[in-house]
């Protein structure tokens, strides 16, 4: 009965409704993952520093999983707090800036393929779109710093912008290396081109590019050890010093963690074979563990996300000039050299370019 009623609706309307449900589902998944990521961060860093981390708040008072509800409690607290708008600030831009940071961080997920079957928009220039949209996130930070009309915020925004612009170039070159190997800008096609087991994934032949991509990703998301933009000992908290409540949550927490997950996902898709199984080629082709599946992608993404937390707990913060030196004078030349090496590999038909 219900199915009949559903079928009577026009086709366009039905596909629109399904599309909206898919989009909302992916966004919700990302937001919940961000919440759990903040919990994981505090737990992992707590473990590394030999302390407990959050261990009190339970889901509806249930006697297990103590502390898992901590991020949700934090979100509720942030949303209920007063939003303070500084008197001398540019009020419109002050409130628009968090949205400008949030929108690119969420909209980039449109082109990410989660499994062989599920991708919101399977477009040809997917990788290019990812680059374009991630480069927009910097506006949220710059405007937040400027609109607040505070010295510390402006200094933090300047640092952050210079850092993001510098590392974007190395990141772009690393992606050029990947698309040279895959011969396509479509993310699904890039994953497909790595099929055939662990040694066919691009981490082997593009290892320097993977390292550079991941480190640039850490710098792009302003994470430790590249977090001078919010260096609390020098400029209080950088660009988000004047923000409070819901604007703080949407400006700082959500985009930063969503971008972290995005960088980890892209690294998994491009260098670790995405949803492909590592046991492909080892087991028989019809074995359960040799099938491509979302689970493999989730595992690989978790690996990279753990590295984010691990680095934050272990490395001291870079000095500003060291960050600039690493980005401009080390990473960019290295990527260009490796693209040259790739040309040689392609010429002699080695690795990903092997015939047959």
């Amino acid at each position: 009965m219900l199915l009949n009623l559903w079928m009577q609706w026009p086709l366009d309307l039905r596909s629109l409704i399904l599309m909206v449900i898919e989009v909302v589902g992916v966004m919700l998944a990302v937001v919940v993952l961000v919440a759990l990521m903040t919990y994981a961060e505090r737990k992992v860093i707590g473990f590394i520093q030999v302390r407990h981390g959050p261990n009190q708040i339970r889901i509806f008072g249930l006697p297990f999983f103590k502390g898992v509800a901590q991020p949700f409690a934090d979100v509720i607290k942030l949303l209920l707090k007063e939003v303070i708008v500084p008197t001398k600030s540019d009020k419109v831009l002050f409130l628009v800036a968090p949205l400008l940071a949030l929108v690119p961080a969420l909209s980039t997920w449109a082109v990410i393929p989660f499994s062989p079957q599920f991708v919101l928009a399977d477009i040809d220039a997917g990788l290019l779109l990812v680059l374009a949209l991630t480069s927009l996130g910097v506006y949220g930070i710059i405007l937040a710093g400027w609109a607040a009309n505070s010295k510390y915020a402006l200094l933090g925004a300047m640092r952050s912008a210079a850092q993001i612009v510098a590392y974007e170039i190395a990141m772009g070159f690393a992606l050029v290396g990947v698309l040279m190997a895959a011969g396509s800008l479509n993310l699904s096609a890039i994953v497909e081109s790595q099929s055939g087991g662990v040694t066919h994934w691009y981490w082997l032949w593009l290892f320097p590019l993977m390292v550079i991509y991941f480190i640039s990703g850490i710098a792009e998301t302003n994470r430790a050890p590249f977090d001078v933009a919010e260096g609390e000992s020098e400029i209080v908290a950088g660009f988000h010093v004047e923000y409070s409540g819901a604007t703080f949550a949407t400006l700082f927490a959500l985009p930063e963690y969503a971008n972290m997950i995005l960088v980890a996902t892209l690294a998994a898709l491009m260098f670790l074979g995405g949803w492909l199984s590592p046991l492909q080629g080892v087991l028989a082709s019809d074995a359960v563990f040799a099938q491509p599946s979302f689970v493999w992608l989730a595992l690989k993404v978790s690996l990279f996300l753990f590295c984010f937390l691990w680095f934050r707990a272990t490395f001291p913060r870079y000095r500003y000039d060291q960050i600039m030196r690493l980005g401009w004078k080390v990473f960019i030349p290295l990527t260009i050299v490796w693209i040259g090496v790739e040309c040689g590999l392609a010429w002699f038909r080695v690795g990903p370019w092997a015939v047959g």
């Binding site: 540019d90 831009l93 477009i123 040809d124 220039a125 290019l128 779109l129 680059l131 374009a132 949209l133 480069s135 927009l136 910097v138 506006y139 710059i142 405007l143 400027w146 402006l154 300047m158 912008a161 210079a162 993001i164 612009v165 974007e168 800008l185 000039d321 060291q322 030196r325």
Partner: protein, 200 residues
Amino acid sequence: MLTTILFYVFATVLVASALGVVLSKNPVHAALALVLAFFNSAALWLLLQAEFLGIVLVLVYVGAVMVLFLFVVMMLDINIAQLREGFTRYAPLGVLVAAIMVAEITYVVWVRHLGLDLSSWAPAMPVGFSNTKALGALLYTDYLLPFQLAAVVLLVAMVAAISLTMRKRPGYKQQDIAAQVAVRRQDRVRIMKVDSEQVR
């Protein structure tokens, strides 16, 4: 139908934001309006099935050029009142330049048609046609030499810009990071053997 509606929406926002660039008092607002204008023109290109050009416009202009632009504009301390002093003096000149621009655009669009037959649109591309691939094939075969020349021109410009900032001035101190990294313990620390003093 939907495409037409989208076109008019994007075109309206584009024109409005272009006006915003010229009319807004605050230079930061003007730069942001320019960003919005770039974004909408990229959307218009996407409607014309030029997805590569559209995305590259966002990537290069919005993602890199305008960020640096905004960066500089934010650092400027502009006195608006001082800027407005000469407004009436230079207004006739501005009107003249604007009139010439409008006349030129009218001439190009209406009189010459740019060799386009506007009565019939270009045929829609077949399904699976990759704009990016076609562009790449053209750039790296037929137009290889101009493409490389443009790259070299840009490189020369970049080298020139960098060399302008590389000037030596007296009293300029710089860190030598390689030297810092290469420092060993014996360069910095000297262990002295001091005889313990006699207790009296």
